[in-house]
């Protein structure tokens, strides 16, 4: 069996480049067959595996500063909270890719993982997914539609990894070409604020960016070793990193 070396997929998001346009959110929903929001959906009950949050420094007038922070699953590597709490073993940290796998078909919908997640990056399907007539033809066949009653989240567009693997296999190769695997949000970003790749690969852009002096991770003090990094030259933005969601949202 030809296996690929273990990888640690991760991303670095440059907040100084993010314009808050939301293209990543739309691309994410289209790629992953997330149905249009239900009429009764609120920001809390809707599905946004990728969510651009708007945060300010709390100042007024000329002192006011704002930043957009795209938040997705951080693919925590150490004692991954959602994995440890799941009573169903429906979540696993894949040793081969470092991706935190959510298995909707084994999920029983208890939402313990949502409580455990410090980033609010997990979402519950409160309604059966429904597409306007005709739009179901745009569904991505490489991603199964989830049903009502299960939790879902970002899996770094795993379907695209499948495609890259199939392509490599057709050429008889075990290693995928890194250029063939880019999540939809990375591709959609107009300002190329997101860099994606294998953090284990010393030559990869993502590894270099993650080790840049501007880079930081959200709530790193929790010790879960997230694999999504952020970058900003602005002191106050980096200072947001250790503040809780609630505090930040209020700001």
């Amino acid at each position: 069996m030809k296996t690929q070396k273990p990888r640690r997929y991760g991303m670095v998001i440059d907040l100084d480049r993010c314009t808050g346009c939301g293209a990543c959110m739309t691309a994410c929903a289209a790629e992953n067959n997330v149905a249009p929001g239900h009429a009764k959906a609120t920001p809390r009950t809707g599905l946004t595996p990728m969510l651009v949050q708007r945060v300010s420094n709390g100042g007024a007038g000329a002192d006011r500063r704002e930043v957009f922070i795209p938040v997705t699953c951080m693919h925590c590597e150490h004692e991954t909270p959602c994995v440890t709490v799941c009573p169903q073993q429906a979540v696993e940290l894949d040793k081969a890719t470092g991706i935190v796998n959510q298995m909707p078909q084994r999920c029983l919908g208890c939402r313990y993982c949502m409580t455990a997640c410090a980033y609010h990056a997990r979402y519950f399907n409160w309604w059966d997914p429904e597409w306007p007539v005709g739009m179901e033809r745009t569904l991505n066949p490489g991603v199964a539609v989830r049903m009502r009653g299960v939790v879902e989240k970002c899996n770094f567009c795993h379907g695209r990894l499948h495609e890259a693997e199939d392509k490599a296999a057709a050429a008889g190769k075990a290693e995928i070409d890194p250029a063939d695997y880019r999540p939809a949000c990375v591709e959609a970003c107009a300002t190329q604020a997101i860099v994606f790749g294998d953090l284990n690969d010393p030559a990869s852009d993502v590894r270099k960016a993650s080790r840049h002096e501007d880079s930081f991770r959200l709530l790193a003090r929790l010790g879960t070793e997230p694999k999504v990094y952020y970058r900003s030259k602005q002191e106050w933005v980096r200072g947001l990193a250790e503040r809780g969601q609630q505090e930040v949202r209020r700001g």
């Binding site: 296996t3 894949d94 379907g159 392509k167």
Partner: protein, 194 residues
């Protein structure tokens, strides 16, 4: 006392028989294929014996699955023989340019990802290993669908108890994983699911 026990045992036996014999029959509904297709005729008479000619694996690793009507039209714009099957093919599909709604015996649930590129190209497994002799078949066996799940009977396999199961019979998660374990490896959930 003895009589009671006898009745009890007869009852248990009857339920066992109903469960093992009757239930499988009640569980599956048999559906007819659109028309009879014979791999054997084509291998012998048309010279198109190469599986890849109809079940193509693209350079991008995408497996085309079943052939499009277009590819049959090359030889079947007009009936060559006198069979009813060919007449149906020509009148209902080739002339109307519609795709044949084949019932796929091996079809997995929508949340399963299976890659022919990995198994046939890289691992070089023969088609028979999983599909048996279908590639040489002379007749289409009945397609049976599970009334509850809507899945093909081939996923579970012929035998409900799975006793004396033959190698290519049934393709449940355990069967995929069984072969992988034999090969000495294990994969994460999202390798096989999507």
């Amino acid at each position: 006392m003895i009589r009671g026990l006898c009745f009890f045992l007869i009852g248990v036996a009857a339920i066992q028989v109903a469960g093992w014999v009757g239930l499988p029959k009640a569980l599956y509904v048999t559906k007819a294929q659109p028309f009879e297709y014979r791999h054997k005729t084509h291998a012998e008479k048309s010279g198109s014996a190469e599986c890849d000619g109809c079940h193509t694996l693209g350079a991008d690793g995408v497996f085309a699955g079943l052939p499009k009507t277009e590819s049959c039209a090359a030889c079947h714009t007009e009936p060559q023989g006198k069979s009813a099957a060919e007449a149906t093919l020509v009148s209902s599909y080739v002339k109307t340019e519609k795709e044949t709604p084949w019932l796929v015996y091996a079809r997995q649930p929508a949340n399963v990802r299976f890659s022919h590129a990995i198994h046939t190209k890289r691992a070089k497994l023969a088609c028979e290993r999983c599909h048996g002799k279908h590639g040489e078949s002379d007749t289409l066996r009945p397609y049976q669908e599970n009334r509850i799940s809507g899945y093909s009977r081939d996923i579970w396999g012929r035998s409900i108890s799975r006793w004396k199961r033959v190698a290519n019979e049934g393709m449940k998660m355990d069967d995929c994983e069984g072969c992988h374990k034999q090969q000495g490896f294990d994969t994460g959930c999202l390798s096989c699911h999507r």
